[in-house]
Amino acid sequence: MQKNLRWKVLAIVLVIGLAVVAIVPPSERIHLGLDLQGGIHLMLKVQTDDALRVETETSSEQFVEALKSAGVTVNAPRIVSITEFVIDGVPAAADQQVRTLADQQLTDYDRQVSGGAYTFRMRQNIQIQRRAESVTQAIQTIERRVNELGVSEPTVAPYGSTGDQIVVELPGVSNTARAKDIIGQTALLALHLVEAGPLADQASLLSAYGGQVPADMTVVTGAVSRDDPTVYYYLVRRVPVVTGEDLRTARQTIGDFNEPAVSFTLNSEGVAKFSRVTAANVGRSLAIVLDSRVVSAPTIETPISQPDARITGRFTQQEADDLALVLRSGALPASLTYLDEREVGPTLGADSVRAGITASLIGLAIVTLFMLVYYRLAGINAFVSISMNLLILLGFMAYLGAVMTLPGIAGFILTIGMGVDSNVLIFERIREELDAKRGARQAISAGFDRVFITILDTHIASLIAAGFLFQFGTGPIRGFATTLFFGLISNVFTAVFVSRTLFEFMLSRRPAGAARVSI
């Protein structure tokens, strides 16, 4: 064997070895997409307006609080839009004080003053920043929830160019309704002191306040006990005693009547606030409000200074479990809407894998048979180079962690087609050269050399197409573009380099004068 040839064979063996190492064991190394594995695909939109509204409300309230402690009394803030609020009723004498405080506290807002009314508008760059933050935070929260759910290899990632879309993929999960509940629940927990209620209608609740909701209070609704489904109205303090942010952890437990409940543990800051308020308000009720609904409103019997507390309500075991999960993983900064939901049953995925493998093997077998009949021994070259192409393609996918999808399998079968095409191009050219009465060695060498440019041209054109497909494509199209792309790259190697080496290897075993080629 020539020295040159020996190196080529070594290189081929090395590539095969690398590919095999990459894909063994296939069940662990080849990542299957949702369409092959079964699972849920959700496309969500984060209502980033929510986050801005909360920010504006909180800033306005904190500002009024700060003014109050500085001795300036003003009207309750008016929220004009999600990014704008107005403070009015400011006495002329306090103007300078308000300006100084606003300079310190409301640095994120532009200020406009006319008469005694101060309009604060959130700066544009802050708005953009807050929206982006709320999406990032939503992704992190959903990730925590999904991880708690015990899903293996979930995907939670930003999607698209609008900046507020998230794609969530949960392989192996089949209960869409529950998954959506867990992902989409805002889980904003807040404990508010009850000022009045519960009462069955809002009018009688407010009769003691002249029919108006006082500025520092708000009305929330919810059930009063687990046996009574009627909706009751509560008048509560607007600023909560503790919120979900003061939680250390939460877990599912059972209540006094053996009913499912959720217990939570406060962090040290939460405990401090909680014990201070409970000590000052023994005998009053504390409304536990989850996502603007009262879950329960127990009475404060004694000052509470230990960190553990319990929420009882009308929960089933599963609901209590899920509530504990979402409380543990923190609140979403904004609500979510669903843009796209797909569910693939596990049996369909398994069937698709089976069908895809069957189709690939049968395709490969038919094509090989044809090549052997038509090109005789050179058909073996075609078989070796195409099989090796598929092996290298799998190796690429495993090595890069690319996901195999159903259209990806179609890309596999097309890769077989491309491999055949390159081989046919080369073989036909070798035949032409043989017809022109060249010797076997020259014919093979001329065949490969002349066709190489063509193969390069066709492959580069297809690579361009595959690249754009990947860039602009979504889900299934991407899987297809991935296999097509790497199939094209490895095909140049196998159809040209490997196949040529095989020819040279066969010729090297014959004496120089008697070189013949079966094609």
Binding site: T176, D340, G356, P407, A410
Partner: protein
């Protein structure tokens, strides 16, 4: 074994027949699509719900149809796959304003409940897709962009490597293939889905591939046959590559037929698109691409000589 021994067909002579045939087919296709109110789009693009149920025992479409009569009066119920698969697909149009919160998959849930309540046999949900209008538009836009940019990329590359008129020939041929394939698909009653778009783009790649092989041969022949008119050079090149064109088309067809027969229901649209596209693509390589390149290259005699000299100069550089 050989299909053709030294073939010498006069393909170029038939170029006008071929162009007229293609234009007639396209006109008929476009008319029929127009009369039906546009290209039938899959729910990925229009928004809506599609649920596939598999029953333990065979169930008629009518039984399912009457079971879900209360859910929507615009639903489409059809057999999914071969009858022995016992699968039924139910499609619901998008209900206005459905994209809010939990409501998106409400249709799918109602279908499931209605079929369960009708008690027409045990079943499992094979797949369920609910796509809102925002994503539908997003997918449409992306599908169109992927197609346009892929074709533009190919045009630039082929124009750079060959003459510009050849690049136009290749792109017109591949647009021809995409359009004709869509026409045949609509006649076969298939919707344009994301998978079909992927297949159409694969077809355009395949078609350009085929065309490049011929053009490469033209470029090579131009070096040896400087005195011959372009028609003859192209005709000779098509003849020289005809074995390869037919064999490649045949083997690719075998591979995608395997996909069509064994690949399962989900990939059926994809596989059928490929089967049609390979046939159309082969036809266009032989009859359309080269014909258009020749027609576009027709220039006054002096310019033509110059153009040819340019072409061969380029070929040498390559």
């Amino acid at each position: 074994m050989r299909i053709f021994s030294s073939p010498n067909f006069n393909f170029i002579q038939w170029r006008w027949h071929a162009l007229i045939l293609s234009l007639a087919l396209l006109a008929a296709g476009v008319t029929s699509i127009y009369l039906r109110g546009g290209v039938p789009l899959g729910i990925e693009f229009t928004g809506g719900t599609a649920v596939v149920l598999r029953f333990e025992q065979p169930v008629g479409e009518d039984a399912v149809r009457s079971a879900i009569a209360g859910v929507s009066n615009e639903s489409v119920v059809q057999q999914f796959g071969p009858p022995d698969a016992r699968e039924i697909m139910i499609r619901l149009p998008l209900i206005a304003g459905q994209e809010q919160g939990e409501a998106l998959s409400e249709g799918a849930r109602q279908v499931e409940e209605a079929v369960r309540a009708a008690d027409i046999g045990a079943f499992e949900v094979r797949s369920s897709d609910s796509i809102g209008p925002v994503m539908g538009l997003d997918y449409q836009r992306k599908g169109i962009w992927a197609t346009i940019s892929a074709l533009a990329g190919i045009l630039i590359y082929v124009g750079f490597r060959f003459r510009f008129t050849f690049a136009l020939g290749a792109i017109v041929a591949s647009l021809h293939d995409i359009l004709l394939t869509v026409v045949f698909l609509s006649w076969a009653g298939y919707d344009l889905t994301l998978n079909v778009i992927a297949a159409l783009l694969a077809i355009s790649g395949y078609s350009v591939n085929d065309t490049i092989v011929v053009f490469d041969r033209v470029r090579e022949n131009q070096r040896q046959m400087r005195r011959e008119p372009l028609d003859e050079i192209v005709n000779k090149s098509v003849n020289q590559t005809i074995s390869r064109t037919i064999i490649t088309a045949g083997t690719t067809l075998l591979a995608v037929l395997a996909l069509l027969i064994f690949g399962g229901e989900v990939l059926r649209g994809f596989a059928l698109t490929m089967v049609i596209g390979v046939i159309v693509g082969t036809y266009s390589t032989v009859f359309i691409a080269a014909a258009i390149a020749i027609i576009l290259s027709r220039r006054p005699a002096s310019a033509q000589v110059q153009g040819r000299a340019q072409g061969s100069a380029k070929a040498k550089r390559a």
